[in-house]
Symmetry: C2
């Protein structure tokens, strides 16, 4: 609980219009895309780094949690105020501060929506590649806090690869700049990348310096169907072996294909055991030659159908299956648990066989789709939460999945983070000495433990 | 001083053949490429992570410093045992553990020489881009510890961008794996990138997992001369604006050009105020079209001479000036102080003018060359250490340089690190709150302060 005198001070810091305690706000700001909820004591909308600093000092003195929040589009509950306290919504930090066309750098506040930044830089011929599925609602600050990935990560990398520097407020109230405003820099410890992906537990981000690249002149979309996952994965490897890194290399398994075929009435080969959606970008000449090579590689890889889009409309049609896969899966069961595990690319066929075995053993359908190029697969365990025993079964399936993924040399999360949903499993991937070291780093930043408590680290109680 | 009983225990841990205290060893392992020296008490050559762990536990119990060391090619004194103690030479960790051609990953021990790894992966059509000038002697472990850059960083990024995971021994003795063996991963804090560039102060690296990419099929070298730095820098921006990121984009200023012309008798235009050495790579077709575009851009940018190499031999000839610039500078004065500052690319003409002003004010010639594509310029202050007052003057020049670089939005070091030579200046770039936070992170890893003490952080006494 935030005591009354602290609420009054909050009001003085940001102005009464920017502190909310009404129930509608508590509901909205108590939930995120994980569908988990909790009730904060208040929501604050700070307007400057200085205000953020004063709020954090107040929280440390008074002893209440502060939960920084972007758009609330996180998948693992990172923005859910599990221990109550103050949700700090960064909505007012919504300015693109600078797009430096000479140095290919953007400086933005954390509340800028990722898609808006992309439009703004593309207007001047530049490009910000990270493209999480949520890009039309999620914010740069949230993307940095989670180290968001996306479809283009296979060619262009993830958010981490574009963050040059940060302005942050430490939980102890200091406002500091980390990293650089230049293309390179190695002075001192890499606080920038330590804070990137720290899920709002180490510092509150108030400005971000991002690296941009030239916007590719052209792109082209292709789709290919295969009899099984092995054939598709061999083709992925063959494409890259031919020195082509597609900008997008997405995968759908048989269950996903069947769902979208039925749901959308799409014309897809009946025997398809795997689908690849491929996009290449670059200059016109290069894109054309890449498409030729990829068609040849797909045909040699025994694709049962291959199509290259001839225009924007045709490309849109090829995207239809991928775009609709997530909603189409609800044909199978009314609810789903979605995990974003990563395995070495070559282990994807083995993962696919393992998912079949899990379904056979436990009776819950499991659909896999996602980023074939980097082995980051969204595994969807379909269930009916109301049906007796299915939640428990799904819990067992998740644990068996994680165990196998670790055994294959993979990781629990490629882009969604640990948050609260994966915190109980972190110990499967990171041994006690690693978790202890991380908690000492947390203490170094946040000795009072006020910033986004209850996240990442396995909790005694939630 | 390491007490006798601890030396005896060391001997038991690694075997007597792998502990040295003879003077020749103390001399060799007390120096690095910074030309600074100090005398260790002993040198140890551990052969396993387990041995490293036992040594670190012994050091923490006994209370002596441990200085991890690769090839000793660091430029800022990172491997110099300034407080005595035990130099831990990682020479025996020299195996390439795996080159995974399916997943484009290499797993190597830290003592592997960077150039050897590059040859090994190129034999199977893969590519490890980071190419510090020292690559034929420096090791992967040292490159990771310093976050080494290189010529190809403008297109391919730095060491940090290729490190997926590490096996490290913490100063407290625990052996942990950080990061992932896959292309993506965001579980917990990013210890991998925190340790990368930490200059051997946080952990001892005993294995490295690296991302590889397909080897470009072709490359081509060009050289262009301009009347002044402004024209050269405008051309650099224009090349990138044309959506070409050259694999190499090196710069020499007038003083460097004059030195190599005189020293090597090279045929270079008399009026040249700046030279660009440009390399593009990719597939044959693309390289050919890039060369055409770059030639056009250079001519429009008023290049007074442009040459594209027609073969390997011709390319070698174009490289001659760049390769010989560092030794040729000693024509000016017998010694040099070399700083690897970074400024926003667009500020390079202003930096050049500032260097001229510094020379005019203080009388020491200053020659600048380096990585134009990312603004990472090696600034060489030429002097005669024996001449009265010149060392003091050089100190003033360095400080004025750093002050101006920071003012331009730059950084003290793009790839050499802070070590001991730049530690007194770190506070110019990072304010006290940032340095304090870094020192708390250091304490979180190394509560006894045994690992490479006296580095990075401004010292009361050295």
């Amino acid at each position: 609980m935030i005591p009354g005198h602290a609420l009054k001070t909050l009001s003085e810091i940001v102005g009464p219009a920017h502190v909310k305690t009404a129930e509608t706000f508590m509901l909205e700001y108590g939930a995120d895309a994980s569908r988990l909820t909790a009730t904060p004591d208040a929501v604050v909308f700070p307007g400057s780094s200085r205000q953020v600093s004063r709020i954090l000092i107040l929280a440390a003195e008074t002893g209440f949690p502060v939960i920084p929040r972007g758009a609330g589009s996180g998948m693992t509950g990172g923005a859910v105020p599990v221990q109550g306290g103050l949700v700090m919504a960064m909505r007012r930090f919504d300015r693109i501060l600078a797009i430096d066309q000479d140095n290919f750098i953007a400086r933005v506040e954390p509340g800028v929506i990722t898609g808006h930044l992309q439009e703004a830089v593309e207007k001047v011929g530049l490009f910000y590649p990270p493209d999480p599925a949520s890009l039309h609602i999620s914010t740069i600050g949230g993307n940095v806090a989670e180290c968001a990935g996306g479809l283009r990560a296979v060619k262009y990398g993830v958010t981490r690869d574009y963050v040059l520097g940060l302005k942050v407020v430490l939980p102890t109230g200091e406002i500091i700049h980390t990293g650089v405003q230049t293309m390179k820099g190695v002075a001192g410890y890499d606080l920038t990348r330590l804070i990137t992906g720290s899920e709002g537990t180490l510092a509150v981000i108030t400005a971000v310096t991002l690296r941009l690249i030239p916007k590719p002149a052209a792109k082209k979309t292709m789709i290919a169907f295969f009899l099984d996952v092995s054939a598709a994965v061999r083709t992925v490897a063959a494409i890259i072996r031919n020195r082509i890194i597609p900008s997008i290399l997405e995968f759908l398994d048989r269950i996903c294909i069947d769902c979208v075929r039925q749901e959308m009435g799409l014309n897809m080969p009946e025997r398809s055991g795997a689908m690849l959606l491929i996009e290449v970008d670059g200059d016109e000449m290069h894109v054309a030659s890449d498409v030729e090579t990829i068609e040849e590689v797909c045909r040699r890889g025994r694709a049962i159908r291959f199509e290259a889009a001839t225009g924007t409309e045709a490309a849109d049609r090829l995207w239809e299956a991928r775009r609709n896969v997530s909603p189409a899966l609800f044909r199978l069961r009314p609810h789903k648990i979605s995990e974003d595990i990563v395995v070495p690319r070559s282990r994807m066929p083995a993962l696919s066989a393992f998912l079949d075995a899990l379904t056979a053993a436990h009776g819950l359908p499991i659909a896999a789709f996602g980023h074939a190029g980097d082995g980051n697969i969204h595994v969807n365990i379909m269930l009916d939460r109301e049906a007796p025993g299915q939640m428990e079964t799904a819990g067992i399936v998740v644990k068996e999945l994680f165990r196998e993924v670790i055994r294959m040399g993979g990781t629990l999360t490629g882009e969604h983070g640990i948050g609260i949903t994966k915190a109980p499993y972190l110990g499967m991937e990171i041994p006690p000495a690693g978790i202890l070291l991380m908690s000492r780093i947390k203490d170094a930043f946040d000795p009072k433990g006020i910033l986004n408590p209850g996240k990442i680290f396995p909790q005694k109680t939630l």
